[in-house]
């Protein structure tokens, strides 16, 4: 069945995304990795939707796309805010608080 290929693609994208979130130190790169995770979810949902003949999955994917856009809007605004205050968007330099 073709759906397996889509699921594999989704799993690979998800793993790349998780790797990026854990390893990358640039805030914008982390945001892009999170987008990869969400797109892995979309591919899964659409593949399952076609496989099961159930439209719910595609509707779910539309919601994910819309909400991901809102999330990235807020995320980029925050990255801009820390850039203005610190002239850097390296996440490992964000360590004002410890313990």
């Amino acid at each position: 069945m073709l759906a397996v290929n889509f699921l594999l693609l989704g799993a690979v994208l998800f793993c790349i995304g998780v790797y990026g979130v854990l390893v990358r130190r640039n805030a914008v790169m982390v945001l892009m990795s999170i987008e990869l995770i969400l797109n892995a979810v979309n591919i899964n949902l659409v593949a399952f939707s076609v496989m099961n003949g159930n439209l719910d999955g595609q509707v779910f994917a539309l919601y994910v796309i819309a909400i991901a856009a809102a999330e990235v809007g807020v995320g980029l605004a925050m990255v801009l805010m820390i850039y203005r205050n610190r002239k850097s968007i390296a996440l490992d330099e964000l360590s004002e608080m410890k313990g």
């Binding site: 995770i37 399952f48 779910f60 919601y63 994910v64 807020v74 925050m78 990255v79 820390i82 360590s95």
Partner: protein, 505 residues
Amino acid sequence: MFAFLVAQASDWITPVIDWHAVAPELVLVAGINIVLLIDLNISDAKKWVLATLTGFVMLGALLPVVTLAVIGDDSRSLFDGRYVIDEYALILKAFFLLVAYVVILMSQTELEEGGYYQGEFYVLMLCSVLGMVMMSSARDLISIFVALELLSIPAYMLAAWRKRDVKSNEAGVKYYLLGVFASGVMLYGMSFLFGATNSTLLTDIGAALTDGDLNGLEVVGVVFVICGFAFKISAVPFHTWAPDTYEGAPTPVTAFLSVASKAAGFVALVSIIFLAFPNASDVYEPLIWTLAALTMTVGNVLALRQTNIVRMLAYSSVSQGGFILMPLAFAGNSNAGGSALNAVVVYLLVYGFMNLGAFAIVIAVSRKTRSGEISSFGGLFGYAPGLAVAMTVFFASLAGIPPLGGWFAKFNAFRAVLQAETNPAYVLAAIAAVNTVVSAAYYMRVLRSVWMDDAPDGDTSPVVTPAPIVAALGITVIGTLVVGVYPNAITRFAELKDLTGAIVP
């Protein structure tokens, strides 16, 4: 493909909408627009109007919740059971609205004196509360996801509300990145659940999953969904954002996050476990058992060495989360299932009152001392006896000393766990008992400082507490005391039968 779409479209029936049932949400939506429009058209000197108005919107939304509760004990179901208003949903809606009202009382003076943006703050707070109110009724993966994002996205912005302060920026960014990552993980799990069960409705998923016969997709789905929510409720090892976010965010926002946002995560987890995973207890029971044991232990150990009161309360709220999570580990046990639901809901309600109260005290005292150190509370009883007594009530309640609310909540949680009568249950109860004693150590350390020590800089001028904070303290003290003395006031609202469709195998 097109013929397939047309075939589905011909079945379309306009859904019947029960307007009374969605009235609380509609009041909030109307309130968001009204506050936003008024904010655009008034001068800065009159912004205090917005706080009052937002408070009235919360109380206005509470009104239909009360009428719904009084009218009937039957549950109202909308959109094919995807949005259900039952007693479980009503008590939690009332809780979220009341918590938000208290937080607005607490934030009013802070916002005015701190020179923050005010109108936008209240609008975002209302949006977040709308998400929480929706979450208590959501019975479908899609509506749970939409409600979760609706409550989280405004909360990310609220955490970073001090735009020029690097600590607040850091708080917002950490909360945002981990929150979004967690929802990604949760969604990935949800996509597997949808694929394996061919439905997004929680009760359908529950019917399709069968214990002992779960395939790989289903196991991954269950684990990822629970891990996604574990971030939201700051369960160890997914708690790393919590202390930094709580310390950096403005204190009223911290109170809101540690009570309302955490409670919303628990509400979603409870709905999912009781409706969608009742037959997947082989997978979620060990997972939640481990999360609960780690959360209460690690939270307590780290709270012991804190010197900043907000950071201490942050770790204390992590460890309280472990106690709330504890009964859920036995949700699938036929003896303990019903009591587990009751214990979680009751603990959430009590925890809301006592933790909000503790933060209200911190706000009131730090207006004078301008410090977040625990030592700055020394001698509080000498110059502010009222605040010292209220603080004693909240901290003793958090430690679980009778006859306060926190004691009853802990008792209820222990009872639910022991009813399971299995070895893991006894072990978890023993771990929790040790943790209760350890947690008393750091709560009592603060109280000893309040009652025994002298004021650190000899400044014993009285604390001026603004009227809204006094009101917030009044509500939370009464809540904490009443539940401890007369627990029936809330326990009867959280029975298993109140959650429509919940089954315990």
